[in-house]
């Protein structure tokens, strides 16, 4: 029963919190750039405003174009439902493990990419093509991170891994560090952050994600944006729960522990947001064809993480 | 001479009819001036021979000093009579078109028909002879008769082919005789003087007491001698040209029957070796020659531009496989070899029937000028395709069964030998398939053929082809038990 309640709370929490996280990152970045920046709550207003606007779609668009925003959002949301945030006691946890999580994000991307190609413009195709290139390396990297975590903990379920790390069964290991590095790189790529992509640009040569969704407007655009925000939150939660699950409530926790878990989650999320903003401000975007080096590096790191597992095991 | 007649004078003996009718036919046909009638007589005589051969299944005559029938040659005699008969039917249709196209003159045909029967006689005699010497004489006579038929067209190529055939086979046959004499010498101390020491039925029983070293030597000569006739590389040179330049019915019987007869002779000697038991194993020699034939033919197939030479080389390939198989020995492999002989004979003659019609239709033997047969002549095209696939070793046709047995049983015993065998088969397969695909498919070229066949002639040309293919397909899935038991008996004797 608590699991059901906690699950519902969790589902609502990620969605409710997502715009705030994005707003926070934007705010910190603005401050770092020496600007005053919008309020962290500005994304909520943006989304609401977009919802009120009439949606304009091209003549050549098919139903996929109209369905894609909702499917994307639902898929990302569904993925977010299974990543523990403040408690590991989630009803839906057994429904999908990390492999399924990767695939659910893949589902969202699949639809966005199709939507990018649906209207039949040069930019849409360009965005889709680059997005799929990034995914083709980021996905394996993330799966390999999962692999090394599963080697450490014996499980691929996010909740189980968090519980395992919490129980102190791992301690500090090279393997875990490498996996974390790979995971961060994947997260950057998946969320279209610098140096892979710049969420704030509409410069034709540099955009990836934005090029795909260029044709969207009104409520469709709102859904796409919201999906992006949820995805960012999801990855922060994921990094939080896999690598630093401190403070998380466990099954059978009382109200106080849950409150601690909630607080820890918020703290971790905003801290990660700050780090992200710092990171993004300090480096420049890459050329498209250097993605392969960056993400290939992530893949190799993840692979190293699995192999280092034996090294530490042998010692 | 008198002794021959006496031997044949048992009226109940079907061998009398089997050997007598082609001999009488040869004489009769030499006298018949009209080629149309001659063609019909030719068919009738061959039919009588076939009928007589089939009675062997009912009643097997007791062996005499000169002639005998046992499990080995009974089906070969029947097969020879059968292919002889179907070929005579095909030949009638073929000759009609050739004559219409003025490529053959009636005077040639008289000679041709007479020689055809004489050739059948010599082969049947070689198969049923119970005397190594008679067998030798018969094989030599078979060479002579076919030389004359190969040169029938009197073109420069035909004469050259016949000449090559004649010289090479004469030398070969000479060496075979030397081998035969050696066997006699080996047998003579045990069996005593005279015909006893040359009778297969008697030799086999006492072969264990023969001087093994003499048998070794004899076998080499027999192998090179009869091997020339079989077409084993590097003794094969006469075969492609003789097949290619003669009339197609002759190519069919050369490939389908004469090679078998020569191989039969070789195998009879191998039986003696096997029965002796103290000789050097003949297997390695046969395996070596078999493989060399297989590979030589396999590579040659890739460079052939003439449709009849293509299939002549395919015959070399198959003779190589069969020789290899018997060289391997053992119950399974020997069975496979016997099966392969039969299947190759039926399939290859069917292919030559088809090739005859095809080249008459297209007016050329050049493979490059033959295209789209399944479009222009659907029945012929598909049947030809089926026949070539059969000879290439695809199921459900009979050759596959024997190749299956050979390759798998060899592999179980000598993987290092099976590997080249399988590679060689694959090599030949690739060549044949690439050629047949080009001929059977694609857009047909405008036909430049000569002589529109009458419906009757068409039926006569297609009937033998269909009959052979039906047998081949059925045999691939089902063998009559009696044939199986013969094969098994012989396989045991072959060691």
């Amino acid at each position: 029963m608590t699991a059901i309640l906690l699950q519902f709370a969790h589902i609502l929490l990620v969605v409710a919190l997502a715009p705030l996280v994005t707003g926070w990152v934007r705010l910190v970045k603005a401050r770092l750039n020496g600007r005053c920046g919008p309020s962290p709550f500005q994304p909520y207003r943006d989304l609401y405003r977009l919802l009120q606007k009439e949606a304009v779609i091209a003549h050549s668009a098919s139903w996929i174009f109209r369905a894609a925003p909702y499917v994307t959002f639902a898929a990302v949301w569904l993925a977010a439902c299974i990543v523990p945030t403040f408690t590991t006691d989630l009803l839906l946890a057994p429904a999908a493990d990390l492999i399924a999580l990767v695939a659910l994000l893949g589902l969202a991307r699949f639809w966005t990419a199709l939507a990018g190609m649906d209207v039949g413009t040069a930019f849409g195709g360009l965005g889709s093509s680059r997005e799929m290139l990034i995914a083709s390396l980021a996905e394996p990297a993330m799966l390999m991170v999962t692999f090394s975590l599963s080697l450490l903990s014996g499980s691929t379920s996010a909740a189980h891994i968090a519980a395992f790390v919490l129980s102190g069964g791992i301690g500090l290991s090279v393997s875990l560090g490498l996996a974390l590095a790979a995971m961060v790189m994947v997260a950057i790529a998946e969320n279209g952050r610098i140096p892979i992509d710049n969420p704030a640009t509409h410069l034709e040569l540099t955009m990836v994600h934005e090029a795909m969704v260029l044709e969207y407007s009104g409520r469709h655009l709102a859904m796409i944006e919201a999906a992006g925000m949820v995805r960012l939150t999801l990855f922060m939660a994921l990094i939080g729960c896999l690598f630093m699950p401190w403070g998380m409530a466990r099954p059978g926790a009382d109200l106080a522990e849950i409150a601690i878990g909630l607080g820890a989650f918020l703290g971790k999320t905003f801290a990660l947001g700050t780090v992200l903003a710092l990171f993004e401000t300090s480096i420049a975007k890459m050329r498209v064809f250097r993605y392969a080096d960056f993400l290939g590096g992530a893949l190799l790191l993840a692979l190293l993480a699995t192999i280092f597992h034996y090294v530490s095991e042998a010692v | 001479m008198i002794s021959y007649v006496a031997a044949l004078s048992h009226t109940a003996n079907p061998l009398l009819w089997i050997l007598g009718s082609p001999l009488a036919g040869a004489a009769l046909l030499a006298l018949l001036p009209r080629w149309r009638a001659a063609a019909i007589v030719n068919v009738v005589v061959s039919g009588v021979t076939l009928a007589a051969a089939l009675t062997l299944f009912q009643h097997r005559p007791a062996p005499t000093r000169l002639l005998f029938i046992d499990d080995f040659n009974i089906y070969l005699v029947a097969l020879t009579a059968f292919v002889g008969f179907t070929t005579s039917v095909f030949s009638a249709a073929y000759i009609a078109r050739e004559t219409a196209a003025r490529r053959l003159r009636p005077v040639h045909l008289r000679f041709y028909h007479s020689m055809y029967q004489a050739f059948l006689f010599t082969m049947l005699l070689a198969l049923s002879a119970n005397n190594t010497g008679v067998m030798w004489v018969a094989v030599e006579a078979a060479t002579l008769t076919t030389v004359l038929m190969v040169s029938l067209y009197r073109t420069r190529e035909a004469i050259e082919a016949a000449w090559k055939y004649f010289i090479l086979c004469s030398v070969g046959i000479g060496l075979a005789l030397f081998g035969t004499i050696l066997v006699y010498l080996a047998a003579e101390p045990v069996m005593g003087d005279g015909a006893d020491a040359m009778a297969w039925t008697l030799l086999i029983g006492r072969a264990a007491a023969f001087q093994p070293d003499l048998l070794n030597l004899a076998f080499v000569f027999v192998l090179v001698g009869y091997g020339t006739k079989v077409g084993l590389a590097p003794l094969h040179a006469w075969l492609p040209d003789a097949h290619a330049e003669g009339p197609t019915p002759i190519s069919a019987v050369l490939s389908g029957l004469l090679l078998n007869v020569a191989l039969y002779a070789l195998l009879r000697f191998k039986m003696l070796i096997a029965a002796n038991g103290h000789t050097l194993a003949p297997g390695p020699l046969m395996v070596m020659m078999g493989l060399s034939s297989l590979f030589l033919a396999g590579f040659m197939l890739y460079r052939r531009g003439d449709i009849k030479r293509l299939f002549a080389y395919s015959s070399i390939e198959h003779m190589g496989v069969i020789t290899f198989t018997f060289g391997m020995g053992g119950a399974v492999a020997n069975f496979a070899g016997l099966m392969h002989m039969t299947m190759h004979s039926l399939t290859k003659s069917a292919i030559f029937f088809a090739v005859g019609i095809i080249s008459q239709n297209a007016g050329t033997k050049r493979i490059a000028d033959i295209r789209g047969l399944t479009v222009s002549h659907p029945f012929l095209g598909w049947t030809f395709l089926l026949a070539v696939l059969a000879i290439a070793g695809l199921p459900p046709m009979g050759v596959f069964m024997s190749e299956f047995l050979v390759v798998s049983s060899t592999f179980a015993r000598q993987p290092l030998l099976a590997l080249p065998l399988a590679l060689g088969l694959l090599l030949a397969f690739g060549a044949l398939v690439s050629r047949v695909q080009g001929m059977a498919f694609g857009t047909p070229l405008a036909a430049a053929g000569h002589g529109r066949p009458s419906p009757m002639a068409n039926a006569m040309a297609y009937a033998p082809l269909s009959a052979h293919m039906v047998l081949v397909v059925v045999a691939g899935l089902y063998l009559p038990p009696v044939l199986v038991s013969w094969f098994q008996t012989v396989a045991k004797l072959l060691g």
């Binding site: 304009v56 493990d97 392969a292 | 040179a237 592999f411």
Partner: protein, 667 residues
Amino acid sequence: MLIGALGTLLVLAFLGAVLGRDKRTPALVHAGCLVASLALLASGLGHLGQPTDAATTMVLPIGLPWTQAHVRVDNLAALFMVIVNLSAAAASGFGIAYAGHLPEPRRVTPFFPLFLFGMNAVLIADDAFTFLVSWEFMSLASWALVLSDHTRAESRRAALVYLTMAAFGTFSLLTCFGVMAGPGGDYTFAAMRAHSLGPVAGSLAVLLALLGAGSKAGLVPLHAWLPLAHPAAPSHVSALMSGVMTKVALYALIRILMDLRGDVGWEWGAVMMVVGGITAVLGVLYAVLQDDIKTLLAYSTVENVGVVVIGLGLAIAFKADGKTTLAALALVAGLYHAINHSVFKSLLFLGSGAVMTATGQRSLGVLGGLLNRMPWTGAVMLVGSAAISALPPLNGFVSEWLIFRALFKGPTLSHWAMKFGVPVVGALLALAAALAAAGFVRAFGVAFLGRPRSAEAAAAREVPAPMTAAMAVLAVLCVVLGAIPVTVTKALDGVIEPLTGVRFSVSANLGWPWLSPVSSDWGSYSGTVLVLVGLSLFTFTIALVHRLGTRALRRADAWDCGHRESLPDAQYSGQSFAQPLRRVFAATIFRARERVQMPEPGDCGPATHEVSLVDPVWQGLYASIGRLVDYIADRVNHLQFLTVRRYLLMMFGTLVFLLLVVAIRQQ
């Protein structure tokens, strides 16, 4: 029923050949095939549920004289009968309407039933001879089908390469059976199971089985024929060749490596995993770069076969290591993927047939915008594309999930090579899965979305109902197999038990509908729950958005960042979509090079852009063999043109050589 249905197929083939002239024959024959396939499907399903020891051998009085034809339907055969006949039924149904659209239906009608017959016969064969005859029957019938469009030179070339490779495969299998049967020639499977082999012979048998079945399945580097032959056949046949015939090959692999030989070593499992991994990645890389839809699909088949083989290799390695439960898991994963691939690959090929029927085109470069014109075909193709991209909640994901699940336990294997190798194979598999998604976004996006790139594509109309119905059935199956995985894995119990020796349930301790292999602590998945939750989130989102915001919608010209561009050619094409992938992945493997030639200033001519790819496998292996054969053939050919005297010399040489051999051996 089984024999009756098989007999019906033969009769249909005969009728197809004899009544070819009649215009109604193709439809009738395909309808007959539909009925026969359904009967066989029912029979397969019936046998699938049987107790594992219930299968009996039937002996028919044909085949090898002293062995005769043995026929037996055990659970493994039953499973593959289900796989085969499911797609066969769909393809037959599709063919009822489709065969009429073919240029030469007479060249298809007789062989289609024969092809079905061959595949089914392979599955029920219980001795080596029957097996191989059926196997070649299958090859031969499909070869004829590849040649149905025989006036195209590419088809003929494809057919030639195909048949030669098929012969290679047959010889490999033949020798493999030869090793297993031993010199005595006892070719029944029962005898082979009882026969024990030494280590060398055993390894040889495994190697040959891999070569034989692998060449039919399309394992790299034996795959070269597959992307030539599969696309050359009519689409409903391509569907069967790609979706089902490769499965028959995998069946052969499982039959030999896990049933007939019970003791295959872990190192062969490792070999299979490596080969499978390379196959998967190379296959999908080829696929991503193709412009022809059917070739693309064929290469994707190569990829999926690789994935299944990874599963099988893993199963063998686990089994050799004594970890039977994990072996069962890996085997289930492989089998599940085989089932799935047969469904969605058949679907996609049928869809490509529909596209060809509607447009006459199969090159991505001239398609586009078909979703608006062919809504049903588009929808089912979308399902197929998503399924093959391993997206939840469809079936492709379930099997990939299972394979990853098993793979992640690979490091528990005792050998160090496996501990280090398994993660690498895992990375390859992950890469392949991700690239597959890219490839199918590209294929579906370019063909069905955007604006039409040619008049044919613009004029496309939806195909007749029987065709869409056949595809829809498969699309529904993609969803169903994804949504209720536990039901499927339960049905596989009877198949895996005799092979791995354990009674194993994939939903270990959570029960229906949770897929939790071995232990739920290891991670679990439930397609059913995901579908339900996902649908509710989806509905909730739509409801919420429509409640909070406006529902107004306006159609306008595309925005395109302000560029007003009416030329459809300005869209991203298949080539341009592939460009980043090509640069990243193909530059080294395929030596992909691009050459841009800009016209001189003042020159009004168009600029040209050329891409050159070198297929390393074809160039490195097949072309070299071809050159070698050519070279030797040229040399050997001189022997045809010698003089009589030289021929005599050869004879003399042979004689003297043999005499010397005898002389030496006598000493």
